[in-house]
């Protein structure tokens, strides 16, 4: 009996995922507000059904810890329900698609983590839930303190200081010295500095867009990246660089900056390569070579990526079914390689849909950026959109061998406290901008309506 349920669930989950993905993308086309709400409500149903079937499968295949799993499921549903309804109640102007997607991504992450390592799942849940409470004040703060744009240089200095802290109190993990530890917690400063960095650029460019201002911004941004390169966190440096060049382009509207910076970026990378070839680029070269031909050293350097490809390929289009694959043999499958684990057990079709869900988050961020008329918020919203999409792209592209692996996590899905916290902060800031924008738009619309009415009255008279 259990076997039948597990096997049938696999296909129902896929169908629900397709429905969810379609609604994620279709919601942008819906102009009628009520129809949009209807879609968003249905999304919640899809997510809960999927989540239910996943945990049913997990509980049935782990009879020993069934009680604990059911309990964990209950707690998750409790938090998610409260969150999805309460958040919208407190912030009626927030984007519901963002709340839904956030919940979906977190829940799919918990599911996969429960399957891979129950203790990690619980830890992730505690961190994420605490973070959710913490970050829920962000939209309120943003709405209240509108002078955030005035601290440009301060954000820059703070960011550089936080990044540099690893030189003093840093510890090494996964070949990069970019973690710090205090009170027994290891955090990766670059995850949080990313947010300060977006604030910094948005703030600088909202103050002025002349050459001098751009030059100062570039100088600070350059120091950020240099520190990251010295920490050997080249993936991080790449993300900062991409955020920087696209924000400069959007903030100034001048494509020549984009061209100059891309050329400059290549030149700097080339120069650094020549100067520090052995010291800094050893593990980059290893990764590039592994990317070119992972099969040359399956048991050594190519181990991670070949295991990842075995997982994705073996799962096939429909997946092995939750608990039926072997994703635990992929190293760091709970974090950097969670996409491969999901792909193996839920199937490539599900994984492709997941990419589209992430893309719909990005589109949602972009649509907020386009609607908001304040330059500071606009540039910032765009910066977060790019940051989110690029990080997702690096992570998924890396584990599928589309691009060389950079060891980046998928926001909200992968295990990792710093990553989850920074992603939630980012999503909350977007909600803040959305709230501010919607409020503003409503005010203007009301004013217009008043004017219109008075004009009509005037004409009648």
């Amino acid at each position: 009996m259990a076997n039948i349920i597990i096997n049938v669930s696999k296909y129902i989950i896929l169908i629900l995922m397709v429905l969810y993905t379609v609604s994620c993308l279709a919601v942008f086309r819906e102009e009628d507000e009520r129809a949009r709400d209807g879609r968003l409500n249905k999304q919640i149903v899809y997510v809960f059904l999927m989540h239910f079937l996943c945990y049913l499968t997990l509980a049935l295949s782990n009879p020993d810890s069934m009680k604990e799993i059911v309990l964990f499921y209950g707690v998750q549903i409790f938090v998610a329900t409260i969150y999805m309804y309460l958040y919208h109640f407190i912030y009626p102007d927030s984007s519901r698609l963002i709340t839904n997607n956030m919940s979906f991504l977190l829940l799919i992450g918990y599911t996969m983590l429960t399957r891979l390592d129950f203790d990690l799942a619980k830890k992730q849940f505690v961190i994420a839930t605490a973070s959710l409470v913490l970050v829920s004040v962000i939209p309120w703060i943003m709405d209240r303190y509108k002078n955030m744009r005035n601290y440009g240089i301060a954000y820059g200095i703070l960011g550089i200081a936080a990044l540099s802290s690893v030189f003093v109190i840093g510890v090494e993990q996964y070949g990069s010295r970019n973690w710090i530890r205090f009170f027994g917690i290891t955090i990766q400063p670059s995850e949080l500095v990313k947010i300060l960095f977006v604030f910094f650029i948005a703030s600088m460019l909202s103050k002025g867009r002349n050459l001098r201002q751009v030059a100062v911004t570039t100088l600070f941004a350059g120091v950020h990246m240099a520190v990251l390169v010295l920490e050997k966190d080249l993936g991080g440096a790449l993300i900062f660089f991409v955020i920087f060049i696209f924000m400069i382009y959007v903030g100034t509207g001048k494509i020549r900056y984009l061209i100059v910076y891309i050329a400059g970026g290549f030149a700097m990378a080339g120069l650094a390569f020549v100067l520090f070839k052995d010291r800094l680029f050893d593990h980059v070269m290893v990764r590039v070579n592994v990317w070119k031909d992972p099969w040359a050293d399956i048991s050594g350097d190519g181990y991670q990526i070949t295991q990842s490809l075995f997982a994705i390929g073996s799962g096939g289009y429909f997946g092995s079914g939750l608990t039926k694959g072997s994703p635990q043999v992929i190293p760091v499958s709970e974090s950097d390689f969670i996409f491969s684990a999901i792909s193996e057990e839920f199937g490539v079709l599900f994984a492709l849909a997941l990419i589209l869900v992430c893309f719909s988050c990005f589109i949602c961020f972009i649509s907020i950026a386009m609607k908001v008329r304040n330059r500071f918020y606009k540039t910032m919203a765009f910066g977060f959109a790019i940051c989110y999409l690029f990080q997702t792209f690096l992570s998924i592209g890396g584990v599928t061998k589309f691009i060389p692996s950079t060891g980046v996590t998928i926001p909200l899905v992968s295990y990792g406290g710093s990553s989850v916290l920074s992603s939630l902060v980012m999503f909350s800031i977007m909600q803040g901008i959305s709230t501010i924008e919607n409020k503003e738009a409503r005010k203007i619309e009301e004013e217009r309506q008043n004017i219109e009415e008075s004009a009509v009255k005037e004409k009648k008279r």
Binding site: E31, I255, F310, L352, I363, K371, R373, F393, I396, E458
Partner: protein
């Protein structure tokens, strides 16, 4: 996705569509408000232009990523997951009754006897079919993925899955031919060595024998013995694909080709007077096999007589770097495009090497090493008009009821010789069989075989390796053999004689 972007673009202006500024009857304050708002909207739209551009760029990136994943699933997936390093195969295997392995002429060479794997022909297919226990080897290893997959009727499988019963695994149909394998095995007799029989135009392996051999039904004992450190047993080693041997005079074929390429005018008029038993080249003394004196020879006679002195003379005229390039294009110092484990053949000389090594190397002694499979591939390239095919031994996959699931097609590696080179060299190889060193073995044959013999001395010249590589018919080359016999001076088995019986058997099969 495009549509999304379009709606986004329109969004800000849509609300007030059709409302042209009409400030009549408004207070100046209201007018100023409306004007300001319209101006901000206009600026906003301008600010959104770059955002829109980058959004398209990102959409393109994501579409690229998804397309790549689909591409991976469609074209690479099967090959990737069939890799022996994929630990999931064992998991599949646990849910499937391992499939059978059959030859192209319908003999079952691996099946199940209860829980145990059973090999009906004992030692006959030992190395090429391999074994499914321990590290696995041969077809059991390479075809493991297919053997542990089931393409039985989908309803049957679904019911089995629900009942938690095992499904019937798929059958691997190999390219091997039972009769050719039997002939090769018997012809080699008690001698150690290796035989590879392949089709030059497809790369299909018809037979592959390596001796000493073992009985895969007794793999437990064989494995224990082979891994016993005290006892230096190499019985599990497939000498056909992993045994590295000096190529001996068979190497002269590629020396001839290099000479033709480097001296396109000179080679046609080449002649050498093999007048004395010994001659000095680059300070090294060279004598022919059995201290023969061959007299006046052109290039074809030098090859058919297998004259070491003539080839030493050719060797010293060669540019060593270019020579190495030719050899490396023929996969020396490279891994072979072969589905199973294989050793890399070695050619050590380059422009900087001591000139004293050149004469020896040119006629196949020296440090050069080659596998019998590689030698078969080189001869196949000649027989196939210059195009090297990738050798393979799995022809197709069938479900347990015999319905074909998948067919493997011949795959070419590269064109390594021009038609002109092939047309020049084939008559030389024919001459080896009609008048040269192999003439005695092929007397009275009903087909026009061609090839090259070789004798390589080892153990300080105490023992001989005997080589023959060739194909069955100069007009219609259908089958290539590569035979190596160890200690042929002791056991008396000559490689060319093994080749003769294989060609005869092949001829016989055609009738």
């Amino acid at each position: 996705m495009k549509k999304n972007d379009k709606t986004l673009k329109k969004a800000p202006s849509k609300k007030r569509k059709g409302k042209e500024p009409d400030y009549a009857g408004l207070t100046p304050d209201q007018q100023a408000f409306l004007e300001r708002e319209d101006k901000i909207d206009k600026i906003n739209e301008k600010l959104n232009q770059p955002i829109l551009g980058i959004t398209y760029l990102c959409a393109f990136l994501i579409i690229g990523l998804m397309a790549y994943i689909v591409h991976f699933m469609v074209t690479e997936k099967d090959q990737v997951i069939a890799n022996a390093a994929n630990s999931r195969l064992d998991k599949y295997a646990a849910e499937v009754i391992r499939g059978e392995i059959v030859t192209s002429d319908g003999k079952t060479v691996a099946e199940n006897d209860g829980e145990k794997r059973y090999y009906p022909y004992d030692n006959l297919f030992a190395h090429v079919v391999g074994y499914s226990e321990y590290t696995k080897a041969g077809i059991e290893l390479v075809g493991n993925y297919y053997l542990s997959e089931s393409h039985a009727n989908i309803i049957e499988r679904f019911i089995n899955t629900l009942r938690e019963e095992k499904n019937e695994g798929d059958t691997v149909v190999s390219t091997l031919n039972y009769k050719m394998q039997r002939t090769a095995y018997d012809a080699l007799g008690g001698a150690d060595g290796a035989v590879v029989v392949m089709e030059p135009d497809t790369g299909k392996i018809l037979a592959m024998v390596s001796k000493p051999d073992f009985n895969p039904n007794d793999i437990d004992e064989v494995w224990k013995e082979a891994n016993d450190e005290e006892n230096d047993s190499s019985v599990l080693l497939n000498r056909a694909t992993q045994g590295l041997y000096p190529p001996g005079s068979t190497f002269k074929v590629l020396t001839t080709l290099s000479f033709m390429r480097q001296k396109p005018l000179k080679y046609k008029k080449y002649h050498y007077d093999c007048a004395s038993e010994e001659e000095i080249f680059n300070g090294v003394s060279v004598h022919c096999y059995g201290r023969h004196v061959h007299g006046e020879e052109d290039l074809s006679e030098a090859l058919s007589n297998s004259c070491n002195q003539a080839f030493a003379d050719i060797g010293v005229q060669l540019n060593v770097d270019k020579w190495r390039d030719t050899l490396e294009s023929f996969l020396f110092n490279k891994s072979l495009p072969y589905m199973d484990a294989s050793a890399e053949s070695k050619f050590y000389l380059d422009g900087k090497s001591d000139k004293g090594y050149i004469p020896q190397t040119a006629f196949g002694q020296g440090d050069t090493l080659i596998t019998p499979l590689h030698n078969a591939m080189i001869m196949s390239t000649i027989a196939n008009g210059g195009l090297m095919m990738k050798p393979y031994f799995i022809d197709s996959i069938e479900n347990y009821k015999g319905t074909r699931i998948k067919k493997f097609s011949p795959d070419s590696y590269d064109t390594l010789m021009t038609a002109e080179e092939v047309d020049t060299i084939i008559p030389y190889l024919r001459k080896v069989v009609t008048e040269g060193t192999a003439a005695d073995y092929f007397a009275g044959a009903s087909y026009e075989a061609a090839g090259k013999t070789g004798t390589a001395e080892y153990a300080n010249g105490d023992h001989d390796y005997s080589w023959f590589v060739g194909f069955n018919d100069v007009d219609n080359p259908e089958v290539v053999v590569s035979v190596l016999v160890e200690e042929s001076d002791v056991n008396g088995v000559k490689a060319a004689a093994v080749a003769r019986s294989l060609f005869d058997q092949y001829d016989h099969l055609k009738d």
